[in-house]
Structures are given as structure tokens and as C-alpha cells.
């Protein structure tokens, strides 16, 4: 019915604009895992509600008439219905194909990068699954490849940090690898690529990449002292001001300098319920509407 279609469209608009804006304005990271789940729900529900709305509108002639509709065949669909069906299918296809295309692009880039790393870096004598790149810049990053992944450290970083600080940085990178953060980022990066005109896509990607930094710190703190990690973050942002975001460094430092806040169980449950409701409702509404034909 028209009403559900309008409602779902409104939901899509709210999820695509005011909500991400609000989220971006208050980037609190008390419970980054809950925040991340909400972002995932927003992204998924946004796409689902828009697609569902278009499909409901497309099949309106079937659903509009009460009682057994006499035009219960596909011939009852006029040109604009077909246009909407096409639009809905194209939308869904675009969102899904952008994931695949992005995955392929990332794989290609990663393969090229791994080839560069193989010829330009040397395996570390001390640290497992770690390679050393001879440059003065402070560089630490991880490459998801093979069973354990590879952490790359620069000689500049090793010279600038104490061994304890370096170990803290490695623990942070290994947390990214263990938590498969590259898969968390993938859909957001894909949709940002597919919908560059949508500010929400950019904001979502931006916030999610920040959240995984904080989450990697949280994981690293289980094995290394938070003070060492904080000292490393401070040193890296000081020496490489151009490459490290000051706001993100400040955010990480603020969290590292205090004991980890205990996540509230009530808040978590609420977030899980809201996220599930957001994702499940649009398809359920669409199925109910289309079944009532």
C-alpha cells in the first residue's frame, strides 16, 4: 500500500541523512562495538527500506484494490510499474554488485601491495609475521594475507619508539588482523565508492574506520600496557603530524589514558534489538504487502 511505501521511503531518508549526521556529530566511543553494530544496521536497513519501498510501489495495482482483484495478472502492470520494478532491481543489484566489485578491486590492490612488500621488506629477526621496511617515515600497518597476516614496520618507527612501545603498536596491528577488521570496513568502503554523492556513506565509512582503531586499541590492551600504546600513539602523531589525524589520536589517547569503561549491558541489549528491528522490518513489510495481493 501507498502508506507502507511512503513510510519505508521516509525511513530510508532518515537513515541516509539525519541519523548519520547525528552520529557523526556525537562520535562517542564508550562502547565502540555497539556503535559499530548500529552503523552496520543503518547501512543495511537504508538499502533494504529503499528497495522494499520501490518494490511495493511497483506492485501497487495488485495491492490497491480490496477483495479479489480482477486484474490479478502481470498485464495489470502499466509502464510506470515496470519502471519501478526495474528501478528496484537496479538499486538492489547496484548495492550488491558494488560489494563484489570492491572486493575484487581490494584483492587486486592487496596482491600488488604484497608483491611490493615481498621485494622491499625484510622479515623481522625478533617478531613473527612481521616485516621491516627501510624508510624514515613512521609506518606501521597490517596486510591481511595468509593464515596470520603480515605486520609491516618501518625502520623509522623502530628508531623512534622504545621496544615496549613498538610491541604495543604490533599488538594493535595484530588486533586488526585477528578481528578481521578489513571485512568490517569492506561494505562501508564499497558503498562509499558506489554512492559518492551520499554524505552518509562518507560519514559512515569515516566513523567505522575510527571505531575499529579504538577497538584495536581495546584488544591490544589485554596483552600490552595501555601506557605504552598511548606513548606510541602520541609519538607517532607528533612526528608524523601530516599523516595521522589529530582528532583520532586525541580520541584514542583519551581512552587509553583511563581504565576501559565497562560497557552497559542494558545499552548493548537495546542496541541489538534496535539494530535487528531496523534490518528486519523493511523486508517483512514488503513481504506482507506483496503477499496480501
Amino acid at each position: 500500500m501507498l502508506f507502507s511505501a511512503v513510510l519505508l521511503t521516509a525511513l530510508a531518508v532518515v537513515l541516509a541523512w539525519p541519523i548519520p549526521r547525528l552520529f557523526a556529530r556525537y562520535p562517542g566511543s564508550r562502547d565502540p562495538a555497539a556503535r559499530l553494530l548500529l552503523w552496520q544496521a543503518i547501512g543495511l536497513a537504508g538499502g533494504l527500506s529503499l528497495t522494499s519501498a520501490v518494490l511495493i510501489l511497483a506492485f501497487m495495482p495488485f495491492t490497491r484494490a480490496p477483495g479479489p482483484a480482477e486484474g490479478g495478472s502481470l498485464s495489470a502492470l502499466s509502464w510506470w510499474n515496470w519502471l519501478l520494478v526495474g528501478l528496484g532491481a537496479a538499486l538492489l543489484l547496484r548495492l550488491l554488485s558494488s560489494l563484489v566489485i570492491h572486493w575484487i578491486r581490494v584483492q587486486r590492490q592487496r596482491r600488488r601491495h604484497a608483491a611490493l612488500v615481498a621485494v622491499l621488506t625484510e622479515p623481522s629477526q625478533e617478531l613473527p609475521h612481521t616485516r621491516i621496511l627501510k624508510v624514515d617515515e613512521l609506518v606501521a600497518y597490517c596486510l591481511p594475507q595468509g593464515q596470520h597476516g603480515t605486520t609491516v614496520l618501518s625502520t623509522g618507527l623502530i628508531a623512534a619508539l622504545s621496544p615496549a612501545e613498538r610491541d604495543a603498536v604490533v599488538a594493535h596491528e595484530r588486533a586488526h588482523l585477528r578481528s578481521r577488521h578489513e571485512l568490517v570496513v569492506l561494505p562501508f568502503a564499497a558503498w562509499q565508492h558506489a554512492l559518492p554523492f551520499l554524505p552518509a556513506a562518507r560519514q559512515a565509512l569515516d566513523q567505522v574506520t575510527r571505531l575499529i582503531e579504538v577497538m584495536a586499541d581495546d584488544v591490544a590492551r589485554r596483552t600490552v600496557p595501555a601506557d605504552d600504546l598511548a606513548a606510541a600513539v602520541r609519538e607517532m602523531s607528533r612526528l608524523q603530524a601530516g599523516h595521522y589525524s589529530r582528532t583520532l589520536s586525541a580520541e584514542r589517547l583519551a581512552r587509553l589514558e583511563h581504565p576501559l569503561p565497562r560497557p552497559s549491558g542494558a545499552l548493548r541489549s537495546a542496541v541489538v534489538i534496535v539494530s535487528a528491528a531496523l534490518v528486519v522490518s523493511p523486508p517483512v513489510v514488503a513481504v506482507v504487502e506483496l503477499l496480501s495481493v
Binding site: V119, L133, E137, L143, A189, T209, E213, H243, S249
Partner: protein
């Protein structure tokens, strides 16, 4: 037992150090401490050629192999992917190599210039 990746690195280092390229036999001598079979050297060279690190000069026999770019150029390529200079998100995008803009060549050329001035 050295992996193929390590051999590729050794061969590239030898090629980067050579002035006018090396034949597979030259490389086998240069890497004598590894005691490589000539076929292994050929395998590694073919892989490096495919990956765009080395090229073959076929004008004389035996073929000579040369590095396609300098080591510094490749380091600059790598660094360009790793350091996302304008970003507000701590190189994490580059870290996962999913969203580095393909057109971001300004930084690359700046890095190259700086390295050129250093040497």
C-alpha cells in the same frame, strides 16, 4: 630453505645494484651462497617480469635482465598506498588497501622528488 619471495627479493637487490643488468648466469654467481639451480633463477626472473619488477633485454644472447624501476620508485609507490596524507583517519583506509584513491599521484611525485634530492 629460502622461499620464492625471499629469492625474488635477493634477485631484485642484485638487479638494483647492477649497472647494466645481469644474465641468469650472472645472478646465479652473485647469489652463490644460496646454491641455486639455473632453472630456479629463471623461474624467479619470470615471476619478477610478470609482476612488473624486471624486464628482459632480448637484443643479445643470453638475455639480460634489468630492474624496471629503481628501488626508491617502488618504495614511493608503497608509501603512497600506506600514507593517506589528506585523510582524517590515520591511514587505516590505506592499511586495508581498499579506498586509497587511484588518482592520488601528487603525493607520489612529491615523495619521489624528495627522495631524488636526498640521493
Amino acid at each position: 630453505m629460502a622461499t620464492l619471495g625471499e629469492l625474488e627479493r635477493s634477485v631484485m637487490n642484485a638487479l638494483w645494484n647492477s649497472v647494466d643488468g645481469m644474465t641468469a648466469a650472472d645472478l646465479r654467481v652473485a647469489l652463490a651462497d644460496r646454491d641455486l639451480a639455473l632453472t630456479t633463477v629463471h623461474t624467479v626472473l619470470t615471476r619478477l617480469e610478470k609482476k612488473g619488477f624486471a624486464r628482459r633485454d632480448r637484443s643479445e644472447r643470453p638475455h639480460r635482465y634489468l630492474a624496471l624501476s629503481t628501488r626508491e620508485e617502488h618504495v614511493a609507490e608503497l608509501m603512497n598506498e600506506v600514507l593517506d596524507q589528506a585523510s582524517d583517519r590515520q591511514a587505516v583506509l590505506a592499511r586495508f588497501l581498499g579506498t586509497v584513491s587511484d588518482s592520488d599521484t601528487a603525493f607520489l611525485s612529491r615523495l619521489l622528488q624528495r627522495r631524488g634530492a636526498d640521493s
